[in-house]
């Protein structure tokens, strides 16, 4: 029964992955318009070559040799044929000889097998235009900032939520409840205010980027770098992380605490908890065995989804703080219609998402028999 449920779940997730990626591939290629752009570029390069005197003289010479002396019609035909071949070769190289509808499925196949290929315009700072290289170069930057921040947010709101659910009705509880509307604004927006206050008026924190461009200008930082380069680097990085991290904490913690507080409160008024309380079970044990254990699955799900969604970085926050993460790469790729990069980043995200959802289903299925019944029996 359980294996049947798992198989259905697996198949439906796989179908979702394939169809979702097909849509992504279609949109990332602008429904085929990227092809037009590439064709125009090839044409443009060929026209440039035609303007190149050296190249044309060498071509003329070889064509004359081919025609056995100067013969105007023969030479002209030879030159035209040369450029036509060149253009066709380039079109075949880029796979443009087949219609878009066909290539759509090639792209899909490449995306699903994670053969991400070569970027069209972007390249990594090290100069590689392999999509994998571009992604792997920026991924650490994103993970350092956003995964850390998301984890901090997650544990702070879980901890505070649990604490407040115990202190229901107190002044702390009221403060958190009235602070919840602050979360109606996104992190980057608080970033603007924090930048104005700390980076521009007080001038005590950096105004963006990952590292100080000229550490020599700051005596303390310079001394630290000279004392130990890696230590200086780490401190410099942490220094730059404060503001973006703060802006997310301010933006997302109030609603999270509010949510978990209500979530735990709802469970703590369930009958089996009330019964345990009536029996005189100590509050600590009630919290751990009766509330946390039952609420664990949705908490783990949201932890996993939090980590996964931090993978793509945050386009706007990175823009505001000039943080060179994956979100910046994605934004640049979108601006320049660089389909392989867009598809690559989203494909990895889609895989991470689908696999985690499946694994979570698997674990819950083992832990909680109700899942199996709902999944398998009713249909």
């Amino acid at each position: 029964m359980f294996s049947r449920y798992l198989a259905i779940r697996g198949i439906s997730l796989a179908v979702a992955l394939v169809v979702g990626m097909l849509i992504v591939v279609y949109i990332a290629n602008l429904g085929g318009r990227v092809d037009e752009i590439v064709r125009n570029e090839i044409q443009f390069n060929i026209n440039n070559l035609r303007q190149n005197r050296d190249y044309m003289m060498r071509l003329q010479a070889s064509c004359e040799a081919l025609c056995g002396g100067y013969n105007e019609t023969c030479v002209k035909a030879c030159i035209d044929k040369h450029f036509e071949d060149l253009q066709w070769q380039e079109i075949v190289n880029r796979g443009l000889d087949k219609p878009f509808e066909v290539r759509l499925f090639y792209y899909l196949r490449d995306a699903l097998t994670l053969r991400l290929g070569v970027a069209m315009w972007l390249h990594s700072d090290a100069g590689s235009s392999q999509v994998w290289d571009i992604i792997s170069e920026r991924l650490p930057n994103t993970v350092i900032l956003f995964t850390t921040t998301n984890l901090v947010i997650f544990f702070v709101e879980l901890f505070l939520g649990l604490m407040l659910s115990r202190k229901y009705g107190t002044i702390y509880d009221k403060i958190v409840v009235s602070a919840a509307p602050l979360s109606s604004m996104p992190g980057w927006f608080y970033g603007l205010f924090l930048l104005i206050i700390f980076a521009f008026i007080l001038r005590i924190l950096p105004d963006g980027g990952m590292y100080t461009p000229n550490p020599e200008d700051y005596p303390a930082l310079k001394a630290l770098y000279e004392f130990n380069y890696s230590l200086g680097r780490v401190v410099d990085l942490l220094w730059h992380m404060i503001l973006p991290m703060m802006s997310w904490l301010v933006a997302y913690i109030p609603i999270g605490v509010y949510y978990y507080r209500t979530f735990f409160l709802m469970f703590s008024t369930e009958e089996f908890v009330e019964y345990a309380r009536a029996r005189g079970v100590p509050p600590r044990i009630i919290e751990r065995r009766y509330i946390l254990r039952v609420t664990l699955p949705p908490i783990i799900t949201s932890l996993v989804l939090t980590i996964i969604s931090s993978w793509m970085g945050a386009i706007i926050t990175e823009r505001v703080f000039r943080w060179p993460g994956l979100g910046t790469v994605l934004a640049m790729a979108i601006e320049r219609n660089d389909a392989p990069v867009i598809i690559g980043i989203i494909a990895i995200y889609a895989y991470l998402l689908v696999i985690s959802v499946f694994v979570l289903d698997l674990i819950y299925g083992i832990v909680d028999p109700r899942v199996r019944v709902i999944g398998g029996e009713r249909r």
Partner: protein
């Protein structure tokens, strides 16, 4: 109880919550602002004015809001000081005209146009005097003068200022045949006529030689209004290391004189503009545009966009979830799978791609974000779960038993049950759509035909307003966004407490 009565009761209950009252108060202010904007500048006109740099030419650039003078305690220059010899109000001026003379005296403006004979030829001469009473504690941020001539022959001219202390500084002299604009700013290199004349003037009056390299960096507009006594005193005291710049209060006379041309039909006018330090409620941007206008016009757009997106998204989510739960089986399965597919497609990148591809307007953007939010959002799952619970209830069973149609059960019996959850969530979700517009604008993707808060934010960001210290430029749209979302969120949270008493008890 009638519907009106129930609404009234609801409002009465809601008024007990401070958050709700605050939210409604802010919202009413914003609605008033929308009405004000629509009445003051009709939409088409607002767009035309906003995108017309010529309209804002005489406005001060980067001016702070006028109310900051309450904090600085200084008398600031609001708007610009405009001295324009074409701005003659016949009711307030004495005019004297005969065959050769044309004299206008308005008090602040004295203009005299004469035709004289010299060496047997007719000559047109013009004299313009502007009298300005300067009693501000600050310097103008910039200044320029424009010669507006319509002539067939060269015009010779002198322009100088007589300061309250009696010193006369020559600002410009020369000849021209076309209208032109002279900026009263320090030249990128070298030294301008006014700066050179200032050094000579100080030398002749005080016997102190100022360092030309230092004066060359000071805008002539500053030299016009600077307190010379103080400047020289400090300069001498500090051996030439400090140039103390303080405005000299009093009456200034700008003289446009020895203006002559052979073309006796020529018209010659002068306009001097000194740009102020503050303007209006919200200040101005790089082009001198009144930010209050953008804030006012951004308000109805933000509210309309957020409200439409939120209402349509929530209603569609609810209907699809209800259908999914009611019919169950294959249809439910299909909807669930579509939901999973759209969860894989990341929201913001997709919206940006489609926006760029089709060159959407703000309103067609709705056609993209609504389906993506409905099909990819988590709301569909939770709503569906709610409907599954409702479906099992006794009264639905009863309805089914007496043969109610599917549509009747869904829309008359199931949907009303989730309305209490739906309405607060609609209100709470409005800010997220307003911020979506702002986020897209920050990335440079904006509807060129609209004035939105996000666009002002983006322009400020692109012009490095933060680095330049023009915080008001960022703060005007940012504070508006902040207040609007706090208002909607507070109202939403309160409604949630009222509609769902289980939460209120907790």
């Amino acid at each position: 109880m009638s519907r009106a009565k129930r609404t009234l009761l609801l409002l009465k209950t809601a008024m007990h919550f401070k958050g709700f009252v605050l939210g409604v108060a802010i919202l009413l202010v914003f609605i008033g602002l929308s009405v004000y904007a629509a009445v003051t500048w009709p939409f088409e006109e607002a767009i035309r004015i906003w995108n017309n740099p010529a309209y804002w030419e005489d406005y001060p650039k980067f001016a702070s809001p006028a109310w900051i003078s309450l904090f600085t305690g200084r008398k600031e220059i609001e708007g610009s000081i405009i001295l324009d010899s074409t701005m003659i109000n016949p009711n307030k001026c004495d005019i004297y005209v005969n065959e050769t003379h044309n004299i206008v005296n308005c008090g602040w403006l004295y203009k005299e146009v004469k035709i004289v004979q010299r060496a047997g030829r007719s000559l047109l001469t013009v004299n313009i005097n502007f009298t300005l009473n300067y009693d501000y504690d600050v310097m103008p941020t910039a200044g320029d003068y424009r010669l507006i001539v319509n002539t067939k022959d060269r015009v010779f001219y002198y322009l100088s200022v007589v300061k309250p202390n009696g010193l006369e500084l020559l600002i410009d002299k020369g000849q021209t045949i076309t209208s032109f604009r002279g900026a009263l700013i320090a030249p990128p290199e070298g030294i301008s006529l006014a700066q050179r004349r200032y050094i000579e003037l100080i030398n002749a009056t005080y016997g102190v030689q100022l360092d030309p390299a230092k004066i060359a960096r000071i805008d002539p507009v500053i030299l016009i209004f600077v307190d010379d006594d103080l400047l020289v005193k400090k300069y001498v005291e500090t051996n030439g290391s400090v140039l103390e710049i303080r405005p000299l209060k009093g009456t200034y006379v700008f003289k446009f004189y020895r203006v002559e041309t052979m073309d006796i039909n020529a018209t010659i006018d002068l306009k001097i503009v000194f740009y102020g330090t503050v303007y209006g409620v919200a200040g101005t941007d790089k082009q001198g545009r009144d930010l209050f206008m953008a804030i006012a016009w951004g308000t109805p757009i933000a509210i309309a966009f957020g409200l439409t997106a939120s209402v349509v998204t929530s209603l569609l989510t609810m209907i699809i979830a209800a259908i999914s739960a009611w019919y169950a089986g294959a249809l439910d399965n299909f909807i669930q799978r579509v939901n999973e597919i759209f969860m894989i497609i990341p929201f913001l990148p997709t919206v940006i791609m489609i926006y760029l591809f089709y060159g959407l307007t703000l309103w067609t953007l709705l056609l993209v974000i609504i389906p993506l939010s409905v099909l990819g959002g988590g709301g569909l799952k939770s709503m569906r779960a709610m409907f599954f619970q409702i479906k099992e209830m006794g009264y639905i069973e009863a309805a089914r038993a007496y043969g109610a149609s599917n549509a009747r059960i869904i829309f008359k019996y199931m949907v009303p049950r989730v309305i209490p959850v739906l309405i607060p969530s609609i209100v709470t979700a409005i800010p997220s759509f307003v911020f979506l517009e702002a986020a897209l604008a920050i990335l440079g993707i904006a509807d060129p035909r609209l004035i939105t808060w996000g666009k002002v934010l983006q322009e400020a960001y692109a012009a490095a307003a933060l680095q330049g210290g023009y915080y008001h430029w960022i703060l005007a749209p940012a504070v508006s966004l902040f207040l609007l979302s706090i208002a909607f969120a507070s109202i939403g949270f309160t409604l949630d407490k009222i509609f769902n008493p289980r939460l209120r008890e907790l």
